[in-house]
């Protein structure tokens, strides 16, 4: 098990009802974190439309997460 800080943004934050939480997860990749928190971020958005960052650097879904990492889950963006 790894201690992971998960941050939710925009619709993910609203669905989770919280912006950030510290979880103990059995996760190897960023995708594992996404899937294990899916109920909390409660979105039907396919993972391909979403993005992820680890410790403030953009990452891939198959990037490895380590104990103590902060994982940022981004719903689809629409700036401008």
């Amino acid at each position: 098990m790894k201690i992971i800080t998960v941050k939710y943004f925009a619709m993910f934050r609203e669905h989770a009802g919280i912006g950030e939480e510290v979880l103990s997860l059995d996760a190897v990749t960023a995708q594992d974190v996404f899937e294990q928190t899916r109920l909390r971020h409660g979105s039907a958005e396919p993972i391909s439309h979403c993005k992820v960052a680890i410790n403030d650097a953009m990452a891939e879904w198959n990037s490895t997460v380590s104990d103590g990492d902060t994982v940022l889950l981004f719903p689809p963006v629409a700036g401008g």
């Binding site: 925009a10 619709m11 960052a53 403030d56 650097a57 981004f74 963006v77 629409a78 700036g79 401008g80």
Partner: protein
């Protein structure tokens, strides 16, 4: 230079910073809050920006644009917070030797900014409802515009 502002974008002041004696063309794009989206009347918008990464990616976009369409000066400012109809949500300015690079770099920057930066837009409708706007790229699959 890419930045995020939680106050009205100082358009006139930004323009002053763009001058360069070798610049023959200057192209600006501004995104304005409009009163309608997908047939629904919009009252105001709310932008949520995750600044640390928005700034990193914004600077990446400006650097990529410079490599593709060599320019002399470029800036982009994106709003955060609550915006009313007509407010400027994003400003992109590019000064280059000729208009070709100015137009193309400006277009490249706004297109990438809109799809790559961790910036989310929530529309508040006149009927009291509200909703997060889907990404532009997803639009092709039936989502937002």
């Amino acid at each position: 230079m890419f930045s995020v502002s939680d106050k009205a974008i100082a358009v006139a002041e930004l323009r002053e910073h763009m001058s360069a004696p070798a610049a023959g063309g200057f192209c600006v794009f501004e995104g304005w809050v409009r009163n309608e989206n997908e047939g629904r009347s919009v009252e105001r918008l709310e932008y949520e920006v995750y600044e640390p990464l928005a700034i990193k990616e914004g600077e990446n976009v400006l650097a990529e644009a410079k490599q593709r369409f060599p320019y002399l000066q470029a800036r982009c400012v994106h709003r955060a917070g609550i915006l009313e109809i007509g407010d400027c949500a994003v400003w992109v300015g590019v000064a280059a030797a000729h208009r070709e690079e100015a137009f193309k770099a400006c277009r490249y920057i706004i297109d990438e900014i809109k799809t790559r930066l961790p910036i989310w837009k929530k529309e508040h409708y006149v009927d009291g409802d509200s909703g997060w706007v889907d990404c532009e790229r997803c639009a092709a699959h039936g989502g937002g515009r």
